[in-house]
């Protein structure tokens, strides 16, 4: 009997050991870790000096353009064919070539996802534009997501630059707390991508890219912003630009409730008995001033007064492109140096007419001599 008991213990220990060595299904990430570095297939024309620098932020919606994707626009498509993804990436590259940003902050870039044919979009964009260096930080990396046929996914934020990126860190942002444990395990883990870039004329330049939670119904975005602030405070003596999809409206925005605009055919909100009362990611009432500290401390690409004077011209997002034009601003660039006045561009027409994404590219210029 004793020997059999020993054998049972051996079995259990062996099973536990093997289980321990198995790859986890989902990458839960460290608090901070090195981001992934990229380099274009061929390095071209690295400018040795810079006068005016153009920065751009753009959520490229994993290169699927205006596809009726199931996750964000009441669509029913999940897996996109490689051919369609390449065709849309070509159009994304085309706008980049036309607008010539020197550094671009990208959100929703897939590098190894079944939904986009496993195309490494960071590498593809580097190889098919003038950018030379890139860095990537995943916000969702799972060997398999057993929901809606998503399968394997690796998507996140990226920074592409003409100049060498010498340091890149992925900083974990707080997770949503309004989800059950299983959903939370498989769900997105938002990050702040922090890179040091060798721009001529700057000893200590940092480019940061972020993409805050889109569908949280609690204070997740506020907690994420606090983490971002603590990083920016560490860069007070350096120069930085931070761009991204903040999923927040500017303080003072005219409309804060987009439940009716975003609802799908079978959904109902705001009526007695509706549960939930508001659509996830469409109700900004409680978040109306969460961006105020950024406007107070740093220089926005679009000054708040200018935005409030003509909101529509600065809108960068919509979920219902078949029913109208851009209807809210979610994408921003801030810096601790001042921008060239009036140098900002919100590429509403180009992005809408060419079906490039559900977000508009926003750019702004800097005078290096400052």
């Amino acid at each position: 009997m004793k020997r059999f008991k020993k054998i049972h213990i051996i079995f259990i220990v062996m099973f536990c050991l093997i289980f321990q060595f198995c790859d986890p299904l989902v990458n839960k990430f460290e608090d901070t870790e090195d981001a992934q570095m990229y380099k274009a297939k061929s390095i071209q024309n690295i400018p040795t000096s810079a006068e005016n620098l153009t920065f751009m932020t753009w959520n490229i919606r994993f290169g699927v353009g205006r596809l009726d994707w199931f996750g964000d626009c009441c669509g029913n498509k999940v897996i996109v064919g490689k051919h369609d993804v390449y065709a849309n990436l070509e159009k994304v590259a085309e706008l980049i070539e036309e607008t010539q940003p020197d550094i671009i902050f990208l959100q929703e870039v897939d590098v190894e996802s079944k939904r986009t044919g496993y195309i490494d979009q960071v590498q593809w964009l580097l190889n098919n534009t003038y950018f030379n260096y890139g860095s990537y930080a995943s916000m969702w990396e799972a060997q398999f997501v057993p929901s809606d046929g998503l399968g394997r996914i690796n998507t996140g934020t990226a920074i592409l630059s003409r100049w060498k990126i010498t340091d890149a860190t992925r900083i974990q942002l707080p997770l949503r707390e309004d989800q059950d444990a299983l959903t939370k395990y498989f769900y997105l883990r938002r990050n702040l991508l922090k890179t040091k870039i060798e721009i001529p004329g700057f000893d200590d330049f940092w480019g940061l890219c972020l993409h805050l939670s889109a569908f949280s119904t609690d204070d997740t975005k506020e907690r994420q912003l606090q983490r971002v602030f603590s990083e920016l405070e560490d860069l007070e003596d350096a120069t930085f630009v931070i761009g991204g999809d903040y999923n927040l409206l500017p303080p003072g925005a005219d409309s804060l409730d987009y439940c009716d605009e975003d609802k799908c055919e079978d959904e109902s909100f705001h009526k007695a008995g509706d549960d939930p009362q508001h659509k996830e990611g469409s109700y900004y009432v409680e978040e109306w001033d969460w961006l105020q500290p950024l406007y107070d401390r740093y220089h926005p690409a679009v000054p708040l007064a200018e935005y409030l004077a003509d909101e529509k011209s600065y809108f960068t997002h919509t979920t219902k492109w078949d029913k109208g034009f851009w209807d809210r601003k979610l994408d921003y660039i801030f810096s601790n140096l001042t921008w060239i006045a009036g140098s900002d561009s919100t590429y509403q027409d180009a992005c809408f007419d060419r079906d490039l994404s559900d977000h508009v590219a926003v750019s702004v210029k800097w005078e290096v001599t400052q």
Binding site: F15, C22, N76, E112, S147
Partner: protein, 262 residues
């Protein structure tokens, strides 16, 4: 690939070492994967292993009882006279995955395939025909060689986006995308001490002409034969395969509880 090569060399060396002992083993119970068949009227079934039943001393049938309802499958194993000291059996199986694939093409949690493909999965089934040769190396050790051809019959085109890019699953469903495939392998089975046995199993899946053309699977298990009625097994499965995203190694824990009765 170098890691794989080193690993294969080690496996071959182990086979040679074990081959230096020549012996016979005619234990036909708990003998799945060998050329031996279950004795007539005996059945064995596991949590994850198929239900096997000895119809006669020369014929055995098997199927996965739970999976049977959503992915009908059936195998027939026939034994033949010995060939150059090898026990010989042929294995013939059929597998119909259409209903299963349509079932898991769904919205929300549990949606392994995208619901957009639900109506695009064609009627299809696969037929596998293979041969198994087994020979005792010593009184307590048995080696088995397996080789077979898998053919798929499909009544319409299948969208290449419907693959399930997971270890074990991908290599077994790839035949429906490629039309045919080869499967071969070597198993070592033997006694360690008392009622404790071991199983070392290697399988190679080849799909000539496909972009993702191979998968290698190796299993190492400890098997505790508590009696002729109960077997507990535990171990690991190591998989190296090519998938639409590239190649990847996986290490998975394996556990089973089997029950048998004459």
């Amino acid at each position: 690939m170098r890691l794989l090569k080193n690993f294969l060399i080690k496996i071959i060396l182990m086979i040679i070492i074990f081959s230096s002992f020549a012996f016979s083993n005619n234990n036909r119970i708990w003998s799945a994967g060998t050329a031996y068949l279950l004795p007539s009227k005996r059945f064995e079934v596991g949590l994850f292993q198929p239900f096997r039943y000895g119809i006669s001393d020369k014929t055995e049938i098997s199927f996965h009882p739970i999976a049977m309802f959503i992915s009908p499958n059936f195998s027939l194993k026939k034994s033949y006279t010995e060939f150059n000291g090898f026990s010989m059996a042929s294995n013939h199986s059929v597998f119909y995955p259409t209903f299963l694939l349509k079932t898991i093409a769904m919205e929300g949690t549990g949606g392994i395939l995208s619901p957009e493909f639900k109506d695009d999965i064609p009627q299809m089934f696969s037929i596998y025909n293979g041969i198994i040769l087994s020979r005792s190396l010593t009184q307590d050790h048995l080696i088995s060689f397996k080789l077979g051809l898998n053919l798929a019959v499909r009544f319409d085109d299948i969208d290449s986006r419907t693959t399930i890019d997971l270890p074990i699953v991908y290599s077994r469903l790839q035949v429906f995308y490629n039309g045919y495939g080869l499967r071969g392998g070597v198993d070592l089975y033997g006694k360690l001490v008392g009622k404790l046995n071991y199983l070392i199993d290697t399988d190679l899946f080849l799909y000539p002409g496909a972009d993702e053309s191979m998968a290698f699977e190796h299993k190492g298990m400890l098997l505790l034969n508590k009696s002729s009625k109960i077997q507990i097994s535990c171990g690991y499965k190591l998989i190296f395969g090519s998938y639409p995203f590239g190649t990847q190694w996986h290490l998975l824990p394996v556990f089973d509880l089997q029950w048998g009765k004459n």
